[in-house]
């Protein structure tokens, strides 16, 4: 019942800055939706508009069947977890948890019951009588999570909840939150989640679907695998994946039906069915190829760009090879066992893109024109 819909939602701040440009987003009931994007792309603004902490200057937001544009946050059936926890500093953990229920005049015994349940799920029973300043970051974040959970909201909103934690704790909290989401789903009270992060590991591991944003626009909404394999444009392609996808300006032409890509003075002809996928005339394009899909071959090999190694990073199980191809920087990731240990900085190598994995983006619009 609690799907969330954004319809042409806009936000212009008081100073005239337009932060959100008419976005449309559907979050299904029980879905874990992650909003990602670089800093300043209006993730928080969007989330705060859903919460009602920020007014909407255009469009419509629906939670369930209700338009909530003019509802106060407390009436929207949402709960929010803030980046800085935002626990009430003068209240013990127990009161922090129960504050919302008390305001709703829920009977005492019910509140007590709910507090017990939530604190046992989050393992914060022994912290109930402490003040927020007596908690560690991880504990505080669990309490903040409990404060959201106890209300049984229709929609959970998270704004970078893990970014203040160290890497190890972040990983364990990540698992805890996804487990919790699954658990609620199995208990038959699925929780719709909107989760803001700028960390793509969080996005890829937690989200049922991911919404990639840029400058107040939505770039693509898809499940993690699709986002990775079929990016809609060069921005999404560059944003998702580690190390970043190589994006190189090229000229596209044909040679007997086969596409030919020219970067600088070099040309490669790509077979492997790229021609069938391409939906474009010849002209200026951007070649996109993930570092994992570039193979390192001897210089001069057919279908490979020739470059000079500028740097080698040994990561243990794999090697990141940085190369310069006529002024364009390429990165290739090679599994350690396939790597030729004689290669060193300054050597000439060939870099052959896997034709089945090549993406071609329109140079002007950035749209992916190689999706089958």
């Amino acid at each position: 019942m609690a799907q969330l819909q954004l319809r042409s939602v806009e936000k212009t701040y008081g100073n005239g800055f337009k932060a959100v440009h008419g976005i449309n987003l559907d979050v299904k009931e029980g879905e874990f939706m992650v909003l990602v994007g670089p800093s300043g792309c209006a993730k928080s603004t969007t989330l705060r508009m859903i919460a009602g902490l920020e007014t909407i200057t255009g469009g419509e937001i629906r939670i369930g069947d209700q338009v909530v544009n003019d509802l106060v946050p407390g009436k929207r059936g949402i709960a929010m977890v803030f980046q800085n926890y935002a626990l009430y500093p003068h209240m013990k953990v127990r009161r922090n948890l129960s504050f919302g229920l008390k305001l709703k005049r829920i009977p005492k015994d019910k509140i007590e019951e709910a507090t017990q349940e939530v604190s046992s799920i989050l393992e914060i029973e022994q912290l109930l009588e402490r003040l927020p300043k007596q908690l560690s970051g991880g504990q505080a974040q669990r309490v903040a999570l409990g404060r959201a959970l106890i209300k049984h909201p229709e929609v959970f909103l998270f704004d970078e909840p893990l970014s203040n934690l160290d890497a190890k704790l972040r990983a364990s909290m990540r698992v805890r939150i996804t487990d919790l989401h699954k658990r609620l789903r199995n208990e038959g009270r699925p929780a719709t989640v909107v989760y803001v992060t700028h960390d793509q590991v969080e996005a890829m591991t937690m989200g049922d679907r991911i919404c990639v944003m840029k400058d107040g626009h939505i770039m693509q909404v898809d499940d993690p695998a699709t986002l990775y394999e079929r990016p809609a444009n060069d921005f999404v392609a560059g944003f998702i994946g580690m190390p970043e996808m190589n994006l190189v300006p090229c000229a596209l032409s044909r040679n007997g039906g086969l596409p030919v890509l020219s970067a600088g003075s070099q040309q490669i002809t790509v077979g492997d069915g790229l021609a069938d996928r391409l939906k474009a005339e010849d002209g200026k394009v951007t070649l996109g190829i993930r570092p994992q899909h570039l193979s390192v071959v001897p210089a001069g090999t057919d279908g490979a760009f020739n470059g000079t190694i500028t740097n080698l990073e040994f990561m243990g199980h794999e090697v990141n090879l940085h190369a310069d191809v006529d002024g364009a920087a390429f990165v290739a990731v090679v599994p350690s066992e396939d790597f030729d240990n004689n290669l060193k900085r300054g050597d000439k190598v060939g870099l052959r893109p896997d034709g089945r994995r090549i993406h071609i983006f329109d140079a002007a619009s950035g749209a992916n024109i190689s999706l089958s």
Binding site: A51, L53, V72, G74, K75, N84, A86, L87, H90, G100
Partner: protein
């Protein structure tokens, strides 16, 4: 002191006798400390001397008052307190203390509530002409008091509030003390809004957010506001002088002046004795709340 312990090794088993240089350094540190503390004590004494003299003199007889310069009374007597308390009016000094309290308590409560409301509005909400309005509030801070005295007096006379405490209460209860509004606004600006937003998401109304979340976080600032208002009102002379005319409503500050007026040969010992009593409440309250007071005026000291 820190230097001393830095120089001499503190090891338990280290019984090595101090070397010549160490001894010299230690002596130097001790001398310099003595000079510093001596100087501080001297200046401190100089500053509180009038107060010490006041207390000492209040136990002197009227005859001794100006004959001996020492603050220590030759024949200590509490006659000044006894006579002073009786006053030359039909009322005892107790009555005047009650009057003072009766002015102060509503005024302090009114100030705390009204200034919090106004400051919260300025610090957290957007409304038309906010900048202009806030600027005018601050401008009243810079306005000399005397400028408004006469129009204010005429206003209160026309409403018919003269010789009552209303002219003293009402302006404060309507956030008339811009300084306090400013102080709370500054304090609020340093507190992140997250907690209030969390409360709104939890379903609190604006007023509930203010009462349950903001006010507790404001406590140190509010305590200083109350303290300031308490002390200023206790010491306020001009306000009551202008608006309160019947002796039975006089606060302590006016009553002190009264004893100077009516006695031909000034009974200085009585005046001083009552002055000491008049100082007592402010001093007591200050020392009791010193900790919060300092916390409050060094604003922004809220740990997240």
């Amino acid at each position: 002191m820190a230097m001393l312990s830095d120089i001499s090794p503190k090891g338990r088993g280290d019984r090595r006798p101090p070397t010549q240089i160490e001894l010299k350094l230690r002596r130097k540190a001790r001398v310099s400390a003595t000079i510093r503390y001596g100087l501080l004590t001297l200046i401190g004494l100089l500053m509180v001397y009038p107060l010490i003299w006041l207390i000492g003199a209040s136990f002197k007889t009227n005859a001794e008052m100006f004959t001996s310069p020492s603050f220590w009374p030759n024949e200590p007597t509490v006659q000044g307190y006894i006579d002073g308390w009786k006053t030359s009016t039909p009322y005892t000094f107790g009555k005047f203390f009650l009057n003072s309290l009766w002015i102060i308590i509503p005024k302090v409560i009114g100030t705390a509530i009204s200034c919090t409301l106004v400051a919260y509005g300025f610090a957290r909400f957007e409304f038309p002409f906010k900048k202009f309005l806030f600027a005018s509030v601050i401008a009243t801070l810079l306005l000399p008091n005397v400028v408004t005295r006469i129009p204010q007096y005429l206003l209160f006379r026309d409403i018919g509030w003269l010789d009552s405490f209303l002219p003293l209460w009402v302006p404060s209860a309507m956030a008339g003390d811009a300084f306090f509004v400013f102080m709370i606004v500054q304090f609020l600006r340093a507190i992140p809004r997250d907690m209030e937003e969390a409360a709104r998401v939890d379903g609190a109304t604006t007023l509930q957010t203010l009462v349950y979340i903001v006010v507790p976080m404001l406590t140190p600032a509010l305590i200083s506001v109350c303290l300031f208002q308490f002390m200023w009102t206790m010491n306020d002379f001009l306000g009551p002088l202008i608006y309160v005319s019947s002796v039975e409503k006089y606060p302590v500050s006016l009553a002190l002046k009264l004893s100077i007026d009516t006695t031909e040969a000034f009974a200085w010992n009585q005046i001083l004795a009552m002055s000491v009593l008049a100082l007592a409440p402010s001093l007591t309250v200050f020392f009791l709340a010193q900790k919060y007071f300092i916390e409050g005026i060094s604003a922004g000291g809220v740990k997240g």
